[in-house]
């Protein structure tokens, strides 16, 4: 379908089209919230819908994403642990190896 008025700028913000864009926007929003979140909420998880900037906090990743998905069921959102971020290992991510 072609735009009948190509010079008209879209009113809705364009959703991020790539993963790195979501991560960069999410990190930027998180940095702005850092002082309000840390250290009080350290260890909890925050999900950020990067277009609206809306945040959802939960004790676990599953809890945080469940509340976010109620409002944004199809949107791909940014998630991170408040305080110290997740560590990656040679096996997987979010994982501190103990059986080696």
């Amino acid at each position: 379908m072609t735009n009948p008025n190509p010079e008209e700028k879209p009113t809705q913000p364009k959703p991020p089209t790539n993963i790195q864009e979501i991560i960069d926007k999410g990190n930027k929003i998180y940095d702005g919230l850092k002082n309000a979140l840390e250290p009080i909420q350290n260890g909890k998880y925050i999900v950020i819908e990067v277009n609206s900037g809306k945040q959802f906090i939960g004790n676990t990743t599953d809890e945080a994403i469940a509340s976010a998905k109620k409002e944004f069921p199809t949107q791909i959102m940014f998630i991170r642990r408040i305080g110290q971020g997740d560590k990656a290992s040679r096996y997987s991510l979010n994982f501190n190896p103990c059986y080696q």
Binding site: I19, Q20, I22, I23, G26, N27, V47, T60, T61, D62, I65, A66, A68, K69, I76, M77, F78, I79, R80, R81, G85, D86, K87, A88, S89, Y91, S92, L93, N94, F95, N96, P97, C98, Y99
Partner: protein, 134 residues
């Protein structure tokens, strides 16, 4: 959900059923049980494709050298004690890695009993243990 000790490598593992967006398709997997994994589940890329898991969210994890790498989280349903649970599964993007890893978040309502001497792994519902105490 069955806890086992794998005789091949002596690791505690859990047999679980996972599903994604493919209607009625469930896959039984054996996942390494790791108490150092703070999330619910990490799945090899081929398992995610097989069940048709949908991308849900993205984040970052830090490598030992401090370099951040992107992490993809998929929506996966897991059957725990006959109850279907929606969890976030991070993708294991190393194609050589074919073993799933389950973390403590998946068993947040359970107590894990690991007997290394007898090579036994059992999961008990936390509320059942609390009821017995009372």
């Amino acid at each position: 959900m069955i806890g086992i000790f794998d005789a091949r490598d002596g690791s505690p593992k859990v047999v679980i059923e996972i599903s994604g967006s493919k209607e009625g398709y469930k896959k039984q997997i054996t996942a390494l049980f790791d108490t150092g994994h703070s999330g619910s589940l990490s799945l090899p890329i081929l398992d995610l494709i097989d069940i048709g898991a949908q991308l849900s969210s993205v984040g970052e994890a830090e490598l030992a050298n401090g370099y951040p790498i992107p992490v993809l989280y998929f929506s996966v349903k897991v059957i725990v004690d006959g109850v279907e649970k929606q969890v976030l599964a991070s993708m294991i993007d190393n194609p050589k890695s074919t073993e799933a890893i389950c973390g403590v978040e998946l068993f947040s309502s359970h107590i894990a009993l690991v007997n290394f001497k007898k090579q036994e792994l059992k999961f008990v519902k936390a509320e059942e243990v609390e009821e017995k105490k009372e």
